[in-house]
Symmetry: C2
Subunit: 256 residues, 2 copies
């Protein structure tokens, strides 16, 4: 028997997860979004019904996935009726107990960065699960294993550590690229010059210990070069402050 | 007529460049390193003579590449005899005029991160050149184009901007990975959980604008999540300070 799933949310996470769930032969029966245009867009992609009214949520589903922004979860939960199915949110940083008004609930956290326009293989995305009841654990584990090869049970503390580590390894990494790009742009140089360096840095991080992979003036504690760089950087932007602080952090890591 | 090349230095940059130069059918005739063991190691890889004495440098070569640490260049130059060939250093951050005692000199800056143990395709590495004379420019351009498809003339200012941008896009990126790994380790979680995220973050940076690729709490200006993360982070390490500063920088970039 195929399970019925309702998707609450129509953003990046909701889009990628719902496509993977549909492809794993689940019946997605409804998509909700606060903004009806977004709900309709995802719902039509999946060939299902759209709604922007939480009172209209189908009450017969087996699984409800709440993939909305962290700050919206509480409001969504307050507006949802009592539900028999398993209800899970997809947030790395929110507590499972936000959902305690339901009989069976849990967390279904995909550890990845999602962009709507960009396809990715959900099968390679680590899914971190937490469940309040045996029934919720059984059903969420089954769903998770049907769409990913990397399923792991985790508590709130582990999930939080993962989420913060993702901020460093993804959001902050991307910002370092953006800051690097700004420096090149000022000299009329193309961002594409960075591409081989970005590729190589990533390759190293994936194949050797990041501790051993570290290079650069801070790693060598070369204060002459660091000071010359810091002097060059415009103190009206954050480049200078970030250069100084991150270099201190690297030097500390290698003096321990 | 094959050109004769002397390699001064036996570190990461010297190793990768000299192999690429040898493979492009130049005659490498000598390797110098302050530490004879290092000189012998690289020289035997290339099948040539090793020395740790700058007075013994072969004076008949066409090209001398000084690939030593920034702080050692001046000392090496002072100890070198007058040379007829073209002398170039490989540093992104040092002035060309460090070499002004020679007749023909320049800079031969490979814009990449090098690790001895890890092979890489030098043909994909951008080479940034600067030359003091026409002869130096001609010979360095020829050498550069023989080993790389990405050769560009640049002045000291551009080279410096590139070097600092590499600190952000490579050294600091790697450190973000290391900091992320520390957070996971504390919770007994494996660094490998980060791999799909690292891959995807890189993929995005290489295929879309990094400005558009930015995600996360700072991008959304979600202070509730950011504050919760900051509270969690141990203030004895640099995690908390870096989290705060880089988040501020992201928020500023998207408020402009």
């Amino acid at each position: 028997m195929k399970k019925n799933v309702v998707i609450i949310g129509a953003g990046n996470v909701a889009t990628h997860l719902s496509i993977a769930i549909r492809n794993a032969d689940y019946n997605i029966i409804q998509v909700y979004s606060r903004q009806i245009d977004n709900a309709v867009l995802l719902a039509s992609l999946l060939g299902v019904e759209a709604t922007d009214n939480l009172e209209e949520i189908d009450r017969s589903a087996d699984i409800y996935l709440i993939a909305v922004s962290d700050s919206a979860i509480e409001k969504v939960v307050a507006q949802l009726p009592g539900l028999k199915g398993v209800v899970a949110h997809t947030s790395g940083s929110m507590d499972m107990d936000l959902l305690e008004k339901f009989d069976n609930y849990g967390v279904f956290y995909p550890f990845q960065t999602f962009t709507k326009e960009k396809q990715l293989r959900v099968s390679e995305v680590p899914l971190l699960l937490e469940a309040a009841t045996e029934k919720a654990e059984k059903i969420l584990l089954e769903l998770a294993r049907d769409i990913s090869n990397k399923v792991q049970l985790s508590n709130a503390r582990m999930r939080k550590a993962l989420h913060i580590s993702a901020v460093f390894a993804c959001n902050f990494v991307n910002h370092m690229y953006a800051l690097a790009g700004e420096l090149l742009e000022k000299e009329g140089l193309s961002f594409t010059l960075l591409e081989p360096l970005i590729r190589e840095t990533t390759q190293k991080a994936l194949t050797m210990s990041v501790r051993d992979a570290q290079t650069g003036p801070a790693r060598r504690k070369d204060r002459v070069v660091m000071n010359r760089h810091i002097e060059t950087l415009n103190d009206k932007s954050f480049h200078r402050e970030i250069y100084t602080l991150v270099s201190e952090s690297i030097m500390k890591m290698y003096s321990e």
